[in-house]
Amino acid sequence: MNEQQNVPPQPPEAPKPPWEEKPVPPESRDAREHEQVREIAAIVPDAVLEAVEFAGQVTVTVARERILDVCRACKEKLEYKFLVDLTAVDWPERPEGRFDVVYWLHRFSDSRRLRLKVRVADGVEVSSVTGVWKVSNWMEREAFDMFGIYFADHPNLERILTWEGFSGHPLRKDFPIEGIDTGAAIYPDVYPPGGGPVAGGEGE
């Protein structure tokens, strides 16, 4: 390929530049001794269940009952003023609880980020953090809409991206990718109830 021709001939002893090596994927490490984790453990003792570092990002798994305490402590004592992202991941086979609710916090003082994680079983409520960060309102609504995770004390836990009355939670692993017949009576005078355009159908 002509792209390689442009590369200046390397002296044989020089190491290859990193983009010509086979990439070395990062590995997960236990991060209980990581500075950010120890800060949390010092303020909220026995909340941290597990801590992992992967590619420089620290993930702290927190007990479900303690998440509100941890978040509040993170915001008020540890200066994590900015909730960047909140989402969920579905692991249907996992015994400790099906869902991971993932919080991704940012601290302006030293530009560090921290991921908190809670394991939630299906149908179990997790405390809403809207009281801590206002921004989490729509993010939690989205997680509810997409995964069916209930957030306790959320001011307005409604579906946000799908319509009211949609049955099912699309991002669960058991939700078929072709979509489901939602039975939505979109044009009640044209289609019989339960008929009508099928969500995610061929659209023919």
């Binding site: 002509n2 792209e3 390689q4 442009n6 590369v7 200046p8 530049p17 990193p18 983009w19 010509e20 090596e21 086979k22 990439p23 070395v24 994927p25 990062p26 590995e27 997960s28 992967f54 590619a55 990002q57 993930t59 003023k81 900015f82 909730l83 960047v84 992202d85 989402t87 991941v89 579905d90 993932v102 991704w104 302006f108 530009s111 980020r113 991921r115 960060w133 206002k134 921004v135 309102n137 729509w138 993010m139 989205e142 997409m146 579906r159 946000i160 991206l161 799908t162 319509w163 699309p170 991002l171 939700f175 990718i177 979509g179 995610g200």
Partner: protein
């Protein structure tokens, strides 16, 4: 008019509920805002979204990693290059791939061009919302040149699909850098022209100064990113804080506003365009030779783990949270959409203003419904 009386939503109050959109000239797509107004004064606003929901995150889960890239084009369709950049950045870091410097520079050029293109759309539509129709055509004329550059580079104008995990799919075509350089050289004069139309105009100032004010602390609380956050005076830019690609090798400023109103956000974006021009000029000058694709395996298979990577998109922080189970398909690929989170602050920004101000605020948040609804 007995029947009118009966259908009033608030029979005892002077308030009226107006459904703005989803088919409305000023909602930038299919945004619907339920506004409760007292006369013309907004008591409360409730954005209703989801009309453009396509289940992009669900679709991601069935694609290979490179196959997700075309789908990201369709999220923020005014800034496909930055979407690509965020996605491939996340996967590359999970795999430990180092992008060759030439590819990184090409990415920066593409991303900054995209920022200019996105801001030109924003300026055109924002001015159109406020009633000035002509800037729209001037800005689109410049955007057209950017799209031509994209077409020459990757063959598409809007849905670019112009980055791959590990580098760039193609090298720059012959003479592209010259044309790109010529374009960015003449752009500051065009920006000055747009500013002559608007910046000092008394009507523009009346319409934007003091409208949609949000304080810095409040902006952080509401998770605003990008120009809305910088307009409030927070010096915050992913390109500086977590430099990706080769942003640490180029020199640029982060413009910030003082008052956090619509006018400040306007000035911030205008200055950002100039800074982008500056970055592109430096990139073109520094553009190294070499391969554009790193040595990556044919089948992209990141190890088990999770990674969040964000870039400074034109609308704000655009992040991709990738969870891999070690297979060829992403187990979960979540997007942190900047517009979605910026739009959330809309009720906060418009409460107590007039309806006309809401239009200005929707414009200044620079939302793209494709990214909000995904």
């Amino acid at each position: 008019m007995g029947n009118l009386e009966a259908t009033r939503p608030f029979p005892d109050s002077e308030e009226m509920e107006i459904s703005f959109g989803p088919q409305h000239p000023a909602t930038h797509g299919v945004l619907r805002v339920m506004v409760r107004v007292d006369g013309e004064k907004i008591v409360d606003a409730k954005p209703i979204i989801g009309y453009l929901h396509r289940g992009t995150e669900k679709i991601f889960e069935r694609e290979t990693y490179n196959g997700t890239i075309p789908h990201t084009d369709r999220m923020d369709y005014t800034a496909a290059a930055t979407n690509n950049q965020a996605l491939v950045g996340a996967v590359e870091r999970m795999m430990g791939v180092t992008v060759p410097p030439r590819a990184a520079y090409i990415r920066m050029i593409l991303a900054e061009l995209q920022r200019i293109a996105s801001h030109t759309i924003w300026l055109g539509t924002h001015a159109l919302d406020i009633g000035a129709q002509t800037p729209f055509f001037y800005t689109f004329q410049e955007r057209e040149t950017i799209l031509d550059l994209y077409e020459e580079y990757c063959g598409a104008r809007l849905t670019l699909n112009c980055m791959r995990v590990g580098g760039q799919p193609f090298d720059l075509p012959e003479g592209w850098t010259g044309r790109c350089g010529a374009f960015v050289d003449q752009l500051p004069a065009r920006i000055a022209e747009w500013e002559r139309l608007l910046t000092n105009n008394r009507i523009w100032k009346l319409r934007t100064i003091g409208v949609g004010v949000i304080s810095a602390a409040n902006a952080i609380e509401w998770g605003l990113t990008g120009p809305p956050l910088r307009g409030s005076g927070v010096k915050w830019d992913i390109r500086k804080v977590f430099p990706y690609d080769r942003y640490d090798e180029v020199d640029f400023e982060i413009p910030i506003g003082a008052n956090g109103d619509t006018y400040d956000r306007y000035l911030v974006r205008m200055e950002e365009m100039r800074q982008s021009v500056r970055i592109i000029k430096q990139c073109l000058a520094k553009l190294p030779d070499g391969p554009v694709m790193a040595k990556v395996p044919k089948v992209i298979k990141p190890p088990k783990g999770e990674f969040y990577f964000s870039v400074e998109g034109p609308k704000g922080e655009l992040g991709f949270y990738a969870v891999s189970d070690g297979s060829t398909n992403p187990y979960r690929l979540h997007v942190r959409p900047a517009c979605f989170i910026n739009l959330q602050a809309l009720p906060e920004l418009v409460r107590g203003h007039l309806i006309a101000d809401m239009i200005a605020v929707i414009g200044t948040l620079d939302i793209v419904l494709g990214e909000i609804d995904r």
